[in-house]
Amino acid sequence: MAAWPFVLFSIVFAALVCAHFLPSYRAWLSTCGEHPADIDPDYVRMEDYFARSFRLKMSEWRKLPVYETLPDGTLMIRKGDERIRVSGPCEYPARSESDDILAVEGDFRCGTDCAFNREIHVRGNAFIGPGTRLQSIAVDGNLQLGDRVMVTRWADSAGEMELGSDSVVRARATSGALIRLRRGAKVGSAFAPVVTTSTRDGEDEVISTEAAFDRLEIPASDGVRSRIDAGRQRRIDPKKLHRLGADSWIYRGDLNAAAPVRVKTRLVVWGDLVLPAGSIAEEDLKARGRISVAQDSVCRGSVVADKEISFGPSSRFQGIVHTGRTLRLGPGVVGGARGRKVAAYSAGILELAENVTVYGKVASGEHVAVVTGK
């Protein structure tokens, strides 16, 4: 039998194998000496990073040469293919449109249904007319977004920010003072010393809810016992309660006490957790199911759930709230306190009812929405 077919086969096979590795070898040569990933070790996480970065860039762009001065004193600066318009206080009439980056040295106003397709920096206060569409805006004073305004990226104000009814900030809204959200407003996240859906100026008085309730303690302080609610046949089963650590307990199953409870320790519930009205959780709570915190309850630690979390009317949380699904903050809910910021995050939708105040941040994987009437 002639050997040449085998030799030919071997050559072809070897060539195919080499062809398989040749692009890899060339890729190795081209990437030799490179950093595979760029990590900035100097990066400091800031909630208003985009706004800071934009203001920094604007301060540098303002130093670029002016190529044209308009009759009204507006300076035109060119940056590559983009134009920067530097003006004093200005007012745009209804249905105005601009593709320039705007730098306003004073107050900025615009009428209804305008469209600003680039960033805006305002040294003074800004009043955005209803139906207007913005890309992003940084205001050194107060910012008022009218009804149905759409900000496709971020909005920042050093002063107070108000989002009108059905207005939207798709990414981040940040303020150095206060963010007020009207009915139907939506944001990706909002961060400020105070984030509120209250329509009244001034802070709502926080009424203490630690009234004298006959609360069931978890874990019980006088040894393991069960307590049966004679009327509803619900109980906390001590057999399901296991010590996880020195300061943590696990409850295996749904925990739905009929009476107010005082949870004195970190508690992990392998199911749904319902805290009846007037309950107090002194430490962190976690549920693998849902968490429902009824009205006038207080959660002093963090509240974490794999599924939905809801806070009933006038309840309070003083730590972090995190859920893998929807988070609902009912009417009058207060999160955090002055000087003690908290964060509430949902991977799904975060719904804010009326008169909700969060000192810190509300954020969502989808959006934060003001939902009234529920």
Partner: protein, 448 residues
């Protein structure tokens, strides 16, 4: 002869089943990760919780890198009133102790711990340091790591979940361009963290605490008995003891930290031999208790066994090759259909070095490293080298009369960084906004 052939068939069949199962597992991880669902993301909560933190940095002859890691930790954006850094000099014979003392004299948040006797090894050093730590959370960094300024805040964010007992960040080789091996290891790490760890965390399986760029609750560490000074892989040992007792390990993909990957095959071989022995020791110590773990779900038990036994797949594969060779030279009829079904699964696993091409490629895409995807075929070299090293290690482990390796000494990876004392920074990628920040007296970065 008949029995030999039967044994070979059983062996080959077992190999195909094991590798197929692993391949499917990694395939599912990659698919899940690509779908980008991450309901457990806690990055939006960074900075809203400030427990007291003790950072432990064990060192043994680390004069080349000691200054870098300590300076990087001092530069972290965390309240100094709630931070302490414990730098442990474990019987170093170079200037490590001197460098630590210099930093401790300059920065009050750094405490120097010098060990000159006692059981050797990282686990023992951590035991000593943990006893002296006052923080609620203990964070660990190996000496050759350079944490970013927000690293501490990133790592402690998941501890707002009371079920989380430990947290793990992401390790990124910085010297991926230094050699072919380092480049391949960079791909491997990327797959392991960006896809493997993240998928396991999202699926509530068993993400692993890696002993560096991570942390553990001090109370939890105490509850599970502390660091195992006898183990070569005290991080794996701790992970599984935590999980068995009902705690969870959280993975933070955004907490990225540079490390130095081995640049030579010899160094890599030593590293992976240590991992293989350590993992296998853990497997033998813990598998029974793991299967009985009353706080574990069925999925966790299964995935945990996969993790513990992952290094055993190398000798299983080699035995399968040998069995197939024997069968090849014997005149036996084989099931063509079974062969055709099994071959692509085995082949897929074969070239992936315990991670499929899909997982490696997915990780590279998620990292926006499209050019490095073309390096995938070269991972075959890493695979064969690793398989050989693992088999050698496990042979010594099982047949070398060392079932329990006993107290260990330091097993370190060679350091490649120059010891010029300068802080290690990428420089060209420094964010301009960060430069506007000033350091307050309590260590936090504030705007000017």
């Amino acid at each position: 002869m008949t029995y030999l052939i039967l044994a070979c068939k059983v062996c080959l069949g077992f190999t195909i089943v094991v590798l197929t199962v692993y391949a499917i597992r990694h395939y599912l991880f990659a698919l899940y990760r690509i779908s980008l669902r991450n309901s457990q993301d806690m990055m939006e909560l960074v900075g809203f919780t400030t427990p007291s933190v003790s950072v432990l940095v064990p060192m043994h002859n680390e004069e080349k890198v000691a200054a870098h890691v300590l300076q990087a930790l001092v530069d972290c954006d965390y309240d100094w009133n709630r931070l302490e850094i414990l730098a442990i000099d474990d019987r170093s014979e170079d200037r490590t102790g001197e460098i630590i003392d210099q930093f401790a004299a300059k920065y009050p948040i750094i405490k120097a711990i010098h060990r000159s006797k006692g059981v050797g090894g990282k686990g023992a050093a951590l035991r000593i340091a943990s006893a002296q730590a006052s923080g609620e959370i203990l964070l660990l960094f190996d000496a050759d790591y350079v944490p970013g300024r927000s690293m501490i805040k990133f790592l402690i964010a998941p501890f707002c979940d009371p079920e989380v007992g430990a947290v793990m960040g992401r390790v990124v080789p910085d010297n991926g361009g230094a050699s072919l091996l380092a480049g391949l290891l960079e791909l491997e790490r990327s797959a392991g963290y960006q896809v493997g760890q993240q998928a396991r965390f999202n699926l509530n399986l068993t993400p692993q605490f890696g002993g560096t760029v991570g942390g553990v609750r001090a109370s939890v560490l105490k509850a599970v008995g502390g660091w195992n000074a006898e183990s070569l892989t005290e991080d794996t040992d701790l992970t599984f003891r935590l999980l068995m007792q009902g705690w969870k390990v959280a993975y933070v993909n955004r907490a990225e930290c540079y490390e130095e990957a081995p640049e030579t095959w010899e160094v890599r071989s030593r590293q992976i031999r240590r991992w293989a022995i350590g993992h296998t020791e853990c497997f033998h110590d813990l598998w029974k208790a793991w299967l009985k773990g009353r706080f574990l779900s069925t999925a966790e038990r299964i995935d945990g066994l996969f993790v513990l036994a992952c290094y055993l797949t190398a000798p299983v594969l080699v035995l399968g090759w040998l069995a197939s060779l024997v069968l090849f030279f014997t005149p036996q009829a084989h099931s063509t259909a079974l062969f055709l079904v099994a071959l692509p699964f085995v082949g897929y696993q074969l070239f992936g070095n315990q991670a499929t091409f899909l997982e490696l490629g997915s990780a590279a895409l998620l990292d926006c490293n499209r050019r490095r995807i073309r390096l995938l075929p070269l991972s075959l070299l890493n695979f064969f080298a690793s398989t050989g090293a693992i088999c050698q290690a496990l042979f010594n482990f099982y047949f070398g009369g060392i079932f329990r390796s006993g107290p260990h000494h330091w097993h370190k990876t060679v350091r490649y960084r120059d010891a010029d004392g300068s802080v290690y920074r990428t420089g060209e990628n420094a964010d301009s906004v960060s430069k506007l920040l000033v350091r307050s007296p309590n260590g936090l970065y504030l705007s000017r």
